[in-house]
Symmetry: C2
Subunit: 345 residues, 2 copies
DNA sequence: ACAAAGTATGGAAACGTTTCCAAGGCGTGC
DNA sequence: GCACGCCTTGGAAACGTTTCCATACTTTGT
């Protein structure tokens, strides 16, 4: 194998100093915008910088100054639009503050989580943003405890780490109340991985609504399966085969809703007449299905931004110990036409 | 402001060497898995590494070894599911190869593009993945030419840079032929930003189909607007007001399709009877609308992976100069029920 | 048996910054 | 006129690795 073509040598701070006839430290000061620099020194240095197209080597900066200007971001699945929209918002805030995002998708595998934590440590990243992930991963939580680094979680519960969360419990409560109010007594819940905070919170809201109405919850109606439209399809088919089928379904809006709709169609059922439907997370599909599907929504972009700013605050040495209490963002119920009173039996 | 709580000091390679009673270079060799190391030296060093929880400082490594194990990834919009799915695939390949992804969303702003290029240079990233972006940005192309770094573009044309592309031209040709074959003569095309390669290629296919059928193209039917369902809505409304309205519409599947459907509905039109519809990029909405909407699709995850592997090859010193010819991935037309013969006028 | 070639280790010089310290010049208040 | 402090600059020591070179000890080939 031929040797790599030599990178065209790049100017170092020393070259700049030599070119401008000044000391290295002066160049450094100018590059970092420090005060107490005479105008003509500044001008001379900038001229040299431009002539040589000097660009500071950030590894050297990080090594010496102990700040990498880098944020780690751990998410289970990049292609999940819920996450990517939050990341999009967060990234904008980081960019504005001069930080770069390092991204890793963990696919819910504990190995990848710990591997990324290790990368975060080795790279001495300045902060870490954690998106919803399995709380069951104890190794991970352990690794995190030793992390000793500003950290913010999104829709995830991590000890001693501040978090931003949507009010999934309140949302679950609201939509369950709504369905109960319509007269439903058997409401199926397809809310995604049980180990994820949003799912467990929604379930709590769902239960609370039942308690309020003095109804008991049939555990068979709760289907905390993984994401995926095919899973949703088979789960719903199974629910519909049963003797005492549900009269309403609450389901995740991304991917799962599609499977649910397929399942209804292939069982010859139509919403809202035969069965009521509410989905979690508003999507094009929910909006444009006919009839439109009522949905629970919240501001993903905003969540990303809020989390990013909390993290930036902490990096800047903000009042660390305080306010690790979670910040909650509201959910909003969009009423469309997928709910109705249950058929008389 | 109180001083930041001192980071608990972390072990350096020197600490490890001292603890194990060996030289620094031996520790380095062990950490990098070099050969010619006696088993007992290896064991002694690993024991010290574990005891001290030593983790090499990657900035120092990067500084000395000139490899940052980092890939830059530039994309206009992270929340666009087309992109995020490709990124998801690419990230998996990078992760497997031990690289970390650095992500930036440019929002089609040239400033952000050049800013990111600068970040890439300063951080001495090992490679760069470019997603579809405006070819009109000449400053950017200039900056890129000086980049002197392994680079792969996805659905984007950059001089001297290899690329991976879906066969958008072939796809555009296929769906336009299909509609012409049904008898349509006035086919509207809402295909996204004209400056993006996929759009211009689709347009080329669209034109070619017209040429083949000896039809002339009415430029008014081509609406190369930006993304967004509201834009699509108003564009379609405008098209439908005109005296000689189109009998078929080709539209992007993400977001725009929703606006198109709204526009049809609010003009009292139904597909496929009143007007035919085909969308580009398969989505839940296209699949589950009633009737189902025919769609052009291609493998996003695969595209990301292919691009990642080409880039990794080049980083490893692969036959650089060769094969900068674009790699094309096929598109596939999924026939559903949104197309019909045009109404007799 | 001896040169040549390899194997296993250590020592020290980079890599390109930031930052601490020192020092010269200059104004200021007494 | 002098101690003091501020502004401006330079010099040099870190930061934590990798890598080159040297060295001591084994093999191997003849």
């Amino acid at each position: 194998m031929p040797p790599r073509p030599a990178q065209t040598a790049r100017a170092t701070i020393r070259d700049v100093a030599a070119q401008a006839g000044v000391s290295v430290s002066s160049v450094s000061r100018v590059m970092n915008g420090e005060p107490h620099i005479s105008p003509e020194l500044h001008a001379r240095i900038m001229r040299a910088v431009n002539r040589l197209r000097f660009e500071p080597h950030s590894a050297a900066q990080a090594l010496r100054s102990r700040a990498s200007k880098t944020i780690g971001c751990m998410v289970s699945d990049l292609s999940n639009p819920l996450y990517s929209e939050m990341i999009n918002g967060a990234e904008e805030e980081f960019q504005r503050a001069g930080y770069v995002l390092m991204l890793a998708a963990t696919r819910h595998e504990q190995d990848r989580e710990t591997a990324f934590i290790s990368a975060v440590r080795r790279r001495r990243m300045d902060g870490l943003l954690l998106f919803a992930g399995d709380n069951a991963h104890t190794d991970f939580t352990g690794a995190l405890a030793n992390l000793d680094m500003p950290c913010v979680a999104i829709d995830r519960e991590v000890p001693d780490v501040p978090s931003v969360r949507a009010d999934h419990r309140g949302g679950g409560l609201e939509i369950t109340r709504y369905l109960i109010g319509l007269g439903h007594r058997r409401i199926a819940l397809l809310t995604g991985r049980a180990a994820l905070l949003p799912s467990s919170e929604r379930l709590a809201g769902y239960r609370q609504a039942h308690v309020e109405a003095k109804l008991t919850v049939d555990p068979d109606l709760i289907r905390p399966q993984t994401q995926g439209s095919d899973i949703a399809f088979s789960e719903v088919c199974q629910l519909l085969q049963g003797p005492d089928r549900p009269t309403a379904i609450i389901t995740l809006g991304t991917h799962m809703l599609a499977g649910v709709m397929d399942a209804l169609a292939s069982n010859g059922l139509r919403y809202p007449d035969d069965i009521s439907l509410v989905c979690i997370g508003d999507t094009d599909l929910a909006r444009h299905a006919t009839p439109g599907i009522s949905a629970l929504t919240w501001d993903l972009d905003q969540m990303g931004r809020v989390a990013a700013n909390i993290l930036l605050d902490r990096i800047r040495g903000g009042d660390a110990a305080q306010k690790i209490r979670p910040v909650y963002l509201p959910t909003r119920f969009i009423l469309r036409h997928s709910g109705a009173k249950p058929r008389a039996p």
